[in-house]
C-alpha cells in the first residue's frame, strides 16, 4: 500500500526529453554554469525540466565523480544515453560543450590578436591569480569534511606534495596513492 501512495505522491514523475530538448537542455546548463556546472545541471535537470528525480541526479553525479573524467560531462553522457542511447549521449555532450568551447576559442582568437600588449597581459595575469585562488578555494571547501581526520588529510597532503612539488605525473599519483587510500577508507568503515 505504501508503494502505491509513494507512486501517487510522485506527481513530480520525471518527464522524458525529446532529442532536440536533450541538446537544448544541456546547452542551457552550459550557458549559465559559471565555474560550477553541477549546480546548474541540478537546477535544470531536476527542478526546471524534471528529467530526473533528485536522488537520481545525485546518484548519477556521484557516479560521474567516482569514475574518472570531467564530472558534468560524465553526467551529460549518462543522462543522454539513458533517454536516447549513444545518440542521446552525443546530443547532451555537444549541447554542453559547444557554446563554452566556441566562446573560449573566440576569446583566445582576440587574445592572439592583442595579447602582445602589456596591458592585456597585466590584466590577464591578475585574472589568472584570482582564478588560481578560486581553484584553491574549491579544493579547501572539498577538503573541509576531512577536518580532524588525519588519514584523509595525509593522503591529500601527499597528493599535493607529489604533484605540485615533486612534479610526479598524474597517473603515477592516482594509481600509486589511490588503492592505498581506498584500502584505508575500507578499513576505516569496519
Amino acid at each position: 500500500m505504501e508503494t502505491h501512495l509513494e507512486t501517487h505522491l510522485e506527481s513530480n514523475a520525471p518527464a522524458v526529453p525529446s532529442r532536440p530538448a536533450l541538446f537544448l537542455g544541456f546547452l542551457e546548463i552550459a550557458a549559465f554554469s559559471f565555474g560550477g556546472a553541477a549546480a546548474w545541471a541540478r537546477r535544470i535537470l531536476v527542478e526546471e525540466r524534471k528529467w530526473l528525480r533528485d536522488e537520481e541526479f545525485t546518484e548519477a553525479l556521484t557516479l560521474g565523480q567516482v569514475l574518472p573524467g570531467p564530472n558534468v560531462i560524465n553526467l551529460s553522457i549518462y543522462v543522454g544515453d539513458r533517454f536516447h542511447g549513444p545518440l542521446g549521449a552525443i546530443l547532451a555532450f555537444s549541447g554542453l560543450m559547444l557554446l563554452p568551447t566556441g566562446l573560449a576559442i573566440g576569446v583566445d582568437v582576440v587574445l592572439v590578436r592583442w595579447g602582445h600588449m602589456s596591458v592585456v597581459q597585466a590584466a590577464l595575469a591578475g585574472v589568472g591569480a584570482a582564478a588560481a585562488g578560486l581553484v584553491i578555494a574549491t579544493g579547501l571547501k572539498m577538503g573541509k569534511r576531512f577536518r580532524g581526520r588525519p588519514v584523509p588529510i595525509l593522503f591529500a597532503a601527499l597528493a599535493l606534495l607529489a604533484h605540485a612539488v615533486l612534479r610526479l605525473p598524474l597517473p603515477a599519483i592516482v594509481l600509486g596513492l589511490g588503492p592505498v587510500s581506498i584500502a584505508a577508507a575500507w578499513r576505516a568503515r569496519r
Binding site: 555532450f93 588560481a132 585562488g133 571547501k141 598524474l170 584500502a183
Partner: protein, 176 residues
C-alpha cells in the same frame, strides 16, 4: 613540428589523463602544465595561465580548458582531438557502468572508493591552483589577491566573477 605529431601527442596525453582524472577536470590542470609547458615547450607559463584564466571566466564545464589548449596549439583539429580524447575514454566508462547500475546502490565498497579517492582529488585540485598561480609569475600584490580570493570564496557566496574582475583591475594597477 609536424602537425600530425602534435595531434597524436595531444590525443595520447589527454586520453591517458582521461582515465585517471578522478574527481573531475581540475585535477589534470597541473599535469597539463607539466606536459605542455615543461615536457614539451608548446606553451609558455604566461600563455598557460592566460588560457586558464579564459577558461575560468567563461561559462561552461571546467574541462573546457582542455579544448582551449588544443586550439591554441593546433587550431580546430587540436581543440576537437584534445576535447574528445579527454572526454570519450572516461565517458565510455561512465556509459558502460551507468547502464549496468540502473539503480546505484549505496554499496559499501563503492563508498570506500569514493572516500578513498576524495582526499587525493582535493590534493590534486590544490596542486592545480598552485601550479596556475606559479605560472602567472605573480608579483606580491597578486599573491595577496590570490590569498584574499581564497578567503572570500571559502567564506562568502560572492559571485566568482567579482574576484576575477578585481584581479584584472589589480593586475592593471600593478603594471603601471
Amino acid at each position: 613540428m609536424k602537425s600530425n605529431s602534435i595531434l597524436l601527442q595531444l590525443g595520447f596525453v589527454f586520453a591517458g589523463l582521461s582515465l585517471v582524472a578522478v574527481g573531475g577536470a581540475n585535477v589534470v590542470v597541473a599535469d597539463m602544465h607539466r606536459q605542455f609547458v615543461e615536457v614539451r615547450p608548446w606553451l609558455t607559463d604566461r600563455e598557460f595561465s592566460e588560457l586558464f584564466a579564459i577558461a575560468q571566466a567563461a561559462p561552461g564545464p571546467n574541462a573546457m580548458i582542455v579544448g582551449l589548449i588544443g586550439w591554441h596549439v593546433a587550431g580546430w583539429a587540436g581543440a576537437v582531438v584534445a576535447t574528445l580524447a579527454m572526454c570519450v575514454p572516461s565517458g565510455l566508462l561512465m556509459l558502460t557502468v551507468g547502464r549496468a547500475w540502473t539503480r546505484f546502490h549505496d554499496a559499501a565498497w563503492l563508498r570506500a572508493v569514493q572516500e578513498g579517492l576524495a582526499p587525493i582529488t582535493v590534493g590534486l585540485i590544490l596542486a592545480a591552483g598552485l601550479t596556475v598561480l606559479r605560472a602567472t609569475s605573480p608579483s606580491w600584490p597578486l599573491v595577496l589577491l590570490a590569498g584574499v580570493t581564497v578567503a572570500v570564496a571559502v567564506k562568502t557566496r560572492l559571485h566568482p566573477f567579482v574576484m576575477l574582475a578585481l584581479g584584472a583591475a589589480l593586475g592593471l594597477a600593478c603594471a603601471r
